[in-house]
Amino acid sequence: MTPADPPRGRGLRRLAHTPGADDPRPIDPDLEPTDPSGPGRRHRRVPVRIRMGHPAVLLAIAAGGFFGAVARYEMGLTWPVRAGHFPSSTFVVNTSGALLLGLVLTVSIERDRVRARTWRYIRLFACVGFLGAWTTMSTVAVESDTLVRGGDAGVALAYLAATVSAGIAAAAVGGAAGRLHRRMGPRPATGGPDGGEGVGP
């Protein structure tokens, strides 16, 4: 599809010229794919009260956040890192979280033609809640700062480079694996899968 083509299909998912036109997966995982605050020509503001929606939305995120934070806390206790050393436990936490986010987000969005609400709550619990809380940016920042203060700037640099490159690779692999799942799994009864190839009927 070239940018000059008119929008095909219907709804936000088929808007041409806009990011996300050919791929329903959101750029910001904290936004639902259909959130009007997302990028696009139809961008409009959503009052906080409306985004919160049903109390179950916040409850699902809170539950996921609880387990994500506890798991990372326990990980830090069982896998302590000595001062001046590569913070391997945070690295493993963040890289595994990036991989799982790509996978779960992709599967949950490409499968949500059927049982959309269930998939949405899986997404809120697992992606926004658990994986958002499991992974962390603030710890990376303070750990790097601490390493630099301790005279281990080289370790800090290696840590940042490893976190960035492994994280991006993990997210890409997770997303691709999610689409592999689509190709291998049974197709939903109501129409073919959306996005990806961007080919209209």
């Binding site: 934070a69 790509g102 700062d145």
Partner: protein, 123 residues
């Protein structure tokens, strides 16, 4: 056990706060660049910098540090979103924004944490 529970509850608050803050920021920008994630990561890193500084220089207890730092700040900030956004921006042909997102996000969070620690050290 009690501390782990408190860390978990702080994580719940952090995750919900991230969801709402991210949405509110994204509300105010129509473009694809994830300013919401950038905002929570910088803010959370600054708060963790303050908590860490308080622990280093002002004798903040280990429990408070675990609950606010590991629980709240850890859950409020996120790394998985940054990597995913970078991949998606690249796929959408927005390579420059993808680079700015990941490099700028890491640099800004580092700066926020370092600034917070310095501020607490001076106080």
């Amino acid at each position: 056990m009690i501390v782990a529970l408190a860390v978990g509850l702080a994580g719940s608050v952090g995750a919900v706060a991230r969801f709402l803050t991210d949405g509110a920021v994204q509300d105010r920008s129509a473009g694809p660049f994830p300013f919401g994630t950038l905002t929570v990561n910088c803010t959370g890193s600054f708060i963790l910098g303050i908590v860490t500084g308080l622990a280093w220089y002002h004798g903040l207890g280990g429990r408070a540090h675990a609950i606010v730092g590991v629980g709240f700040c850890g859950a409020f900030t996120t790394w998985s979103s940054v990597t995913w956004e970078t991949v998606r921006l690249t796929q959408e042909g927005l390579g420059r924004q993808a680079v700015v997102n990941v490099i700028g996000g890491v640099a800004a969070s580092l700066a926020a944490a370092a600034l917070a620690i310095m501020v607490v050290a001076v106080i």
